[in-house]
Amino acid sequence: MLILTCPYCGIRCDETELAAGGEAHLKRFGPGSSDEEFEGYLFMRANPKGVHFERWRHAYGCGKWFHAARNTATLEVYGTYPAQVHEPPQEVLDAISTRVPGWRWKDVS
């Protein structure tokens, strides 16, 4: 059972209360972009076996979108944070670095 804490209402919710929204921090490409950029934005996904950043929605709660940093190989959760950011906050990055030595944010972005 996956349990995430909603950063807006502070509630610890299990996954049945949430809706998964796929990879976080995608750079959006639209009109004027190249075919490759648009294809990458629409379909190509980081699919790491390890640290992953995801979008979640507190669907049966406050209804807000937030981000979660999670490990897909161990199901460990490193932290959640509001979605209105371009990259994860420092405390989440620090939490990951202490648990996964040698991991760097730019490895995934």
């Binding site: 809706a19 998964a20 490759e36 379909f43 996904r45 790491p48 995801e54 190989a73």
Partner: protein, 414 residues
């Protein structure tokens, strides 16, 4: 390796069964092969087998990080059907289904293919219309299916409650030639034949890197040394993205957990496979008497081969409504497999940006049924550079917008 036959069983009975040989060899890897396949699951082994049988390429190694058939090949619900809406899907799945019919004879290994019939229940008016459309499409594709009414559903599977309060059974898409097979035997049978043709099936040999030179693949780095190859096929389901990363390209794939479970064994009570897509559960009875149950995939990326309990609860709750008699059954085992989902829920059988490197992946929740057809087509693609079965399943279809959109056609993962 010796031919399996009734005569062989009798002969061995008279000499304390001391004459049976190992089904396949466990050789040390050589320095170089013409073709290296990564992944000794059903799809990888079938690819190797048809490379040898149809194209005469026998200097082949199949590398497996765990044990043979230990991934999704041994973790599925063994359903075989080909009632797909899109032409390209129907073609490759129907090819697989027809190959399954004679696979036991072809491999000289009993894969226990049981064409008991597959029934996909229509439990809403939308589904009725959808399945009628699929039945018409199948008629044009040469796939034998028909839309049947609730009376016939009850006749074929008496334990169904067709007048369920919330989701009454309004009909079903019936494929009488679909069925089940023994999943492990499919992998074992292919492995035995590959070994017999002189190919090396190497277990406990994990690929940790892919070497390229001048834009073409030149070999792989493994936990048992470097191996050079002329062509490389990546057939590793959930870990495809991981290997693509080693070769320096990306795939439109996300890996999620899909679960299945079996009940305690009971007396024979259903001799068809039933899928209920609206409530999202499917069930069949194994030859041992266990009810084999499958459900939905998780919505988030996961490599742990275990899924969320909430999905089991949802699946079982839905099935109890359609099959009231299973409400008192105890569940014996539950397991998960990591499936590779593409954006349009159709597989990728394709060349890649790296020369002589091919990928066969993205089968998502429906790979087992496709094993012989996938191997057949992918072997042709690797040998000749093109294959009619694989033509539509290229990687470039995402950029060009030529989806084979089974996720819309089926309404669910399929």
């Amino acid at each position: 390796m010796g031919h399996y036959s009734a005569l062989a069983v009798v002969r061995e009975a008279f000499r304390d069964h001391r004459g049976w040989q190992r089904a396949w060899k466990s050789p040390e890897p050589r320095r170089r092969y013409d073709v290296v396949i990564v992944g000794a699951g059903g799809h990888g082994l079938a690819t190797a087998y048809y490379l040898g049988k149809n194209h005469g390429i026998r200097n082949v190694a199949v590398l497996e990080k765990g044990w043979l058939g230990g991934g999704n090949t041994g973790r599925n619900t063994t359903i075989i059907r080909s009632n797909y809406l899109q032409d390209a899907s129907a073609a490759i799945y129907e090819k697989a289904r027809t190959l399954y019919e004679t696979l036991s004879q072809d491999l000289n290994y009993n894969v226990m293919f049981s064409p008991r019939g597959v029934m996909m229940l229509a439990q809403t008016e939308h589904e009725v219309r959808g399945y009628r459309r699929t039945a018409h499409a199948n008629a044009l594709q040469g796939v034998e299916t028909e839309f049947i009414g609730p009376g016939r559903v009850k006749e074929l599977c008496p334990i169904i409650e067709v007048r369920g309060p919330r989701y009454p059974v309004l009909g079903a898409l019936w494929q009488p030639r679909g069925g089940t097979a023994r999943h492990d035997a499919v992998a074992w049978g292919y492995a035995r034949k590959c070994s017999e043709m002189g190919m090396d099936v190497i277990q406990q040999c994990e690929v940790t890197g892919i070497r390229t030179s001048g834009g073409d693949v030149s070999g792989v780095v493994t936990t048992r040394g470097d191996i050079d190859c002329g062509k490389l096929g990546i057939v590793v389901a959930g870990h495809s993205g991981h290997l693509a990363d080693m070769a320096g390209f990306r795939l439109p794939i996300e890996s999620v957990a899909l679960q299945a479970l079996v009940s305690e064994p009971i007396k024979p009570c259903m001799d068809v496979v039933v899928m209920a897509n609206t409530v999202h559960g499917y069930m069949s009875q194994s030859d041992k008497g266990e009810m084999v149950i499958g459900g939905g995939a998780d919505g988030f990326n996961n490599y742990t081969q275990r899924g969320s309990f909430s999905h089991i609860e949802e699946t079982v709750r839905a099935l109890v409504e359609t099959f009231p008699m299973i409400s008192r059954l105890k569940m014996l085992r539950q397991w998960g497999g990591i499936v590779d989902m593409t954006g349009d829920r159709s597989p990728i059988l394709s060349g890649t940006p790296v020369g002589n490197l091919f990928v066969n992946c993205g089968w998502g929740t429906g790979g087992f049924k496709a094993i012989p057809g996938s191997g057949w087509g992918f072997a042709e693609l690797m040998a000749k550079g093109e294959s009619p079965l694989c033509a539509e399943f290229g990687l470039d279809r995402f950029r060009e917008g030529r989806f084979i959109d089974e996720s819309v056609a089926a309404g669910v993962a399929h």
